[in-house]
Amino acid sequence: MKILVTANHVPFLHGGADHHIHGLVAALREHGHDTELLRLPFRFQPEADVERLMSYCETLDMTRPNGQAVDRLISLQFPGYGIHHPAHTVWVMHQHRAVYELFDDHQATPALRQLRQAVIDYDNRHLGRVSQLFANSARVAERLASHNGLAATPLYHPPHGAERLYHAEDWGYVFYPSRLEGLKRQDLLIEAARHLRSPAKILIAGDGGQRARYEAIIERHDLKDRVTLTGQISEAQKLACYAHALAVFFGPFDEDYGYITLEAMLAAKPVITCTDSGGPLEFVRHDETGWVVEPSPEAVAEAIDAAWANRRLAAEMGQAGREAYQAHGIGWDSVVARLLGQEKA
C-alpha cells in the first residue's frame, strides 16, 4: 500500500530519532509498501514558529494529495500528527518535551506558557481522534496518560545494527556508552569507582558537554587507573566493547526508551540501572537480567562488585537478558505488522 510517514527535520541535529525514522521507512519498504517520508522543518524557537507549524499541519489533508491516493499516514512526532488522514496511525516518539516533562513553571516565559496551553489542546484534539495510538515505550505511554489522559500502546523497536552485536568472554570491565550529559549521570559510575572493592575497570564512551567535569572528578580522586573516558568511538569499537564487558551500566535519569539496555541484552550482558532511570526498568529485572539499584555511587559499586564476585552468574544473567529480549519479540517485522494493524497486541 501507499504509506506516507511524517517526522520533523531539525537541521544538523542528529541522534536516535533519525535511526528510528529511517529504520521505520526502510522496514515498510522492505515489506513491499510504497513509502515516502515527509519531514517538516522544525525550530524550537521562537515559540510563535512552533504555533505556525501547528496551524499549518492542521490545514494539511494527505488523503489524496494531487490525486494520489495515500492509503495510510504514520506520524512519529509533534506536530505532524495534526495532519488529516482517515487512516492515521500515530507512534509517539516523544511529545513536545519543553511544555511537558521539561516545563518549569518558575522559569517559563509568557510566550512558553501560552504555547504550553496551545500544545496541550492540540495534542488532546488530534491524538484523541487518530485511528491507532502507539508510544515509543511504556514510559512515553505513561506520560501521555498522565498529561493528556490518552491511552497509547507501547511499541518497541530494535536498536540500530542489532544483528551485529555479539557476545564474547568478559574482560573484567563495566561499559557505559552514551553522550556525556548531566541527565545520563556518568558521574554515578565514575564515583562508584571510589567504593569498589574489586579490581573491575570502567570504560565510558562518548563525548559531550560534561566531559571536562567528568575528567575533573577522575583527576580529583585519582581514578585514572580505574576509569577511562574513551571519547567518541567507532561502531566497531562499540561492538567489541559490548562483547567483552563484564556488565553494562545504564543509569540515566528518567530515560524515554534507551537503546543501551537493548544493546547490552543483545550482547548477552547484565545491565546495572537505577530505580529512577525510566525506560531501562521496563526491561531489566533485578537479580535476573541485571541489577536495579538506588542512584548512589555506593549502590552502583556494590552491584559491580557483585558482578565481579560471581562472574559466571553475571554471564548467566546476561544470557537471561538476551532471552528476555527475544521474549519481547522486538523487531521491525512486528513493528510493521502492529502499525498497519495486521496483528493483534
Binding site: G161, E163, R164, Y166, H167, A168, E169, D170, W171, G172, Y173, P199, A200, K201, L203, K224, D225, R226, T228, T230, I233, S234, E235, A236, Q237, L239, A240, C241, A243, H244, A268, R311, Q319, R322, E323, Q326, A327, G329, G331
Partner: protein, 492 residues
C-alpha cells in the same frame, strides 16, 4: 577464571584491535563470532516434562478457584497433594498426607479446603506469594468462627461438616465436570505461552540462519578461489621439479650482499641513519603501531620464546618483544643500528638476514619478523628468506613481514621512492601467494596507517569513497603466516 587487565590502556588497545578486525557492516561477516544459541533444547525438554511434573495447572495460579481446589475429578491423594502445593507452597510430608487421607472420608473436601485456608502456614504463604482464593463466605466464616471457640465449637462444627458433605455429594458430577473444563482451559493457556516462546525463539533462530547463509555464500566464493589457485600450485610444482633437476647439474649460486661500486658502505650507512631519523615517526607512534601485533605474539607464545628480528633498526620491536616475555635477537646490516641496539642491552648481530636465518636450527623460532626490509631485497633473496624462515620457525611460530602498501596509489607512485634503497613495491596478493606457496598456514594480510580522517575528501558517495580508498587508504600492510606442524613429525 576469565582474563582481566591490570592496565586499562592495554585493555583499550586490545578492544581497538578486535574492533579493527571486525568486518564492515554489510560485508563478509565470517569473523564475527556466532551468536550463542538459546533455549531451544531447554524449551523442548520443558514441553516434554510439562505433563508429568507440574501437577494440576490452574487458570490463574494467583487466584485459584474453589472448584479447581476441590478437584473432584481427582483421587484423594492427588487432591491432598494439589492443596499442599497451591495453599502451602510445598510437597506434603508423609505424616500430613496420612492424616488428611484418614480424615477425608469423614469431613469431605470442601471442609478440608476451608480448614487449610484458615491455617497460619497457608495464610503466610498466600500473603508472601500474593495468592487470593475465592471461597464461598458461607463456608469459610462459620469454620473460622467455630475453630476459635474451642471444644464447644468443635461440636458445632459437625453440622457444618455434614452440610458440606451433602453439598459435595449432591453436586459431585457437576463439580467434576467443571474442574475438568477449568483444567483444560489452564492447560490451553500454558500451551499458548509455551508456543509463543518457542515461536519467538524459532523466529530468532531463523534470523541467525539467514545471517549464516550469507556467510556460507562467502565460503562458496572462497572455495572457487581455492580451485583457481590449485591450478597455480600444480604449475609451481613443475617449476620446482625443473629447478631441482638443474641444481643437480650446476653448482649453487653464491648469494650475498652486493658490494657498492663507488661509495664506501660506511658513508652510505651514515646517510641512511640520517635519512631515517629525518623521516621516522615519533617513538610513541611507532610503539603504538607495533602494539597492533600483540595478537600475533599471543599466538606465537605457544611455540616458545625465541624470536629473530631481521633489520631490527633502533630496536623498538625488540623492546616490545622483551616486554612480552620473548628472548629476541636482532639482525641488521647497518653497524650504527647494531651498536645502538647493543647499547640498549639487546642481543644484536651485524649480519645479513638470509645467512642469519641459515644459522638458526630447524623449528627453533617462535617469531620471525622483518619490518620494512622485504621491499629492499631482490626477489631471489626474499624468496630464500621466506623459505629459510619457514624451516627455522617452530610449529605454531609466526612470520611477520611489514612493507609499504601500493594499494594506496600515493604510496605506490610516490612515497615508496623516498627511500633510495627501496627496490619495488610488493603487493598483498603476491606476498600472500609467496607465503602460501612456501607452505605457511593461516596466511593473512593486515593493513595499517590510513591517512587521517581530515586528509580525506569529504563526502560518502561512491566516487568519493573510491578516491579516498585509492589515495588515502592504508599505507602499510603486513603479511603474516604461521608454521603449520608437519603431520609426519606429529605422528612421530
Amino acid at each position: 577464571m576469565p582474563p582481566s587487565f591490570d592496565d586499562i590502556d592495554r585493555l583499550l588497545a586490545r578492544l581497538k584491535q578486535e574492533a579493527r578486525e571486525l568486518p564492515e557492516a554489510g560485508n563478509d561477516a565470517s569473523t564475527v563470532q556466532a551468536v550463542p544459541m538459546f533455549r531451544h533444547q531447554r524449551l523442548i525438554d520443558e514441553l516434554k516434562a510439562a505433563r508429568e511434573c507440574q501437577g494440576l495447572p490452574l487458570v490463574d495460579a494467583r487466584r485459584p478457584q474453589f472448584v479447581e481446589l476441590l478437584a473432584m475429578d481427582q483421587g484423594a491423594e492427588s487432591f491432598v497433594r494439589h492443596l499442599y502445593r497451591r495453599l502451602l507452597g510445598r510437597e506434603p510430608d508423609p505424616e500430613g498426607m496420612a492424616g488428611y487421607l484418614r480424615r477425608l472420608p469423614r469431613v469431605g473436601r470442601a471442609f478440608t479446603v476451608a480448614n487449610m485456608l484458615i491455617s497460619d502456614e497457608s495464610r503466610r504463604f498466600r500473603e508472601q506469594a500474593g495468592i487470593r482464593v475465592d471461597v464461598p463466605a458461607g463456608l469459610l466464616v462459620p469454620v473460622k468462627r467455630l475453630q476459635r471457640t474451642g471444644k464447644a465449637g468443635k461440636v458445632l462444627l459437625l453440622p457444618v461438616m455434614g452440610v458440606c458433605r451433602l453439598w459435595e455429594i449432591a453436586w459431585r458430577s457437576r463439580l467434576r465436570l467443571e474442574a475438568r473444563s477449568l483444567r483444560t482451559e489452564a492447560r490451553m493457556h500454558q500451551l499458548h505461552d509455551q508456543m509463543t516462546t518457542v515461536l519467538g525463539d524459532v523466529d530468532g533462530q531463523l534470523g541467525r540462519l539467514d545471517h549464516f547463509l550469507g556467510e556460507q555464500q562467502g565460503a562458496a566464493r572462497d572455495v572457487q578461489r581455492l580451485r583457481d589457485e590449485q591450478a597455480a600450485l600444480w604449475s609451481a610444482i613443475q617449476h620446482q621439479r625443473r629447478a631441482y633437476e638443474r641444481t643437480l647439474e650446476l653448482p649453487p649460486v653464491e648469494r650475498g650482499s652486493i658490494e657498492p661500486a663507488n661509495v664506501h658502505q660506511d658513508l652510505l650507512d651514515a646517510y641512511y641513519v640520517a635519512f631515517e631519523d629525518a623521516c621516522r615517526g615519533s617513538e610513541a607512534q611507532i610503539r603504538a603501531h607495533l602494539r597492533h601485533y600483540l595478537v600475533q605474539l599471543d599466538q606465537a607464545r605457544q611455540a616458545g620464546t625465541a624470536a629473530l628480528d631481521l633489520g631490527c633498526g633502533r630496536g623498538e620491536w625488540l623492546s616490545l618483544l622483551v616486554e612480552e616475555g620473548f628472548e629476541p635477537t636482532g639482525i641488521d646490516l647497518n653497524i650504527a643500528m647494531v651498536e645502538h641496539c647493543r647499547e640498549a642491552g639487546f642481543a644484536c648481530h651485524h649480519q645479513d638476514a638470509v645467512s642469519a636465518l641459515r644459522e638458526a636450527p630447524d623449528n627453533s623460532q617462535a617469531v620471525i619478523s622483518g619490518f620494512h626490509i622485504a621491499e629492499h631485497l631482490p626477489f631471489d633473496v626474499l624468496y630464500a628468506l621466506i623459505d629459510e624462515a619457514h624451516r627455522a620457525l617452530a610449529p605454531g611460530g609466526v612470520l611477520i613481514l611489514e612493507t609499504p602498501n601500493p594499494e594506496n596509489l600515493l604510496v605506490g607512485s610516490h612515497t615508496f621512492y623516498h627511500d633510495p634503497t627501496h627496490r619495488n613495491p610488493l603487493t598483498p596478493t603476491s606476498m600472500t601467494f609467496l607465503l602460501t606457496y612456501h607452505g605457511y598456514g593461516d596466511v593473512q594480510v593486515r593493513r595499517f596507517n590510513p591517512y587521517p580522517e581530515e586528509a580525506q575528501v569529504p563526502g560518502d558517495d561512491p566516487l568519493t569513497e573510491r578516491v579516498n580508498g585509492h589515495l588515502c587508504g592504508p599505507q602499510d600492510f603486513a603479511i603474516i603466516g604461521t608454521k603449520v606442524a608437519d603431520r609426519t613429525e606429529e605422528a612421530a
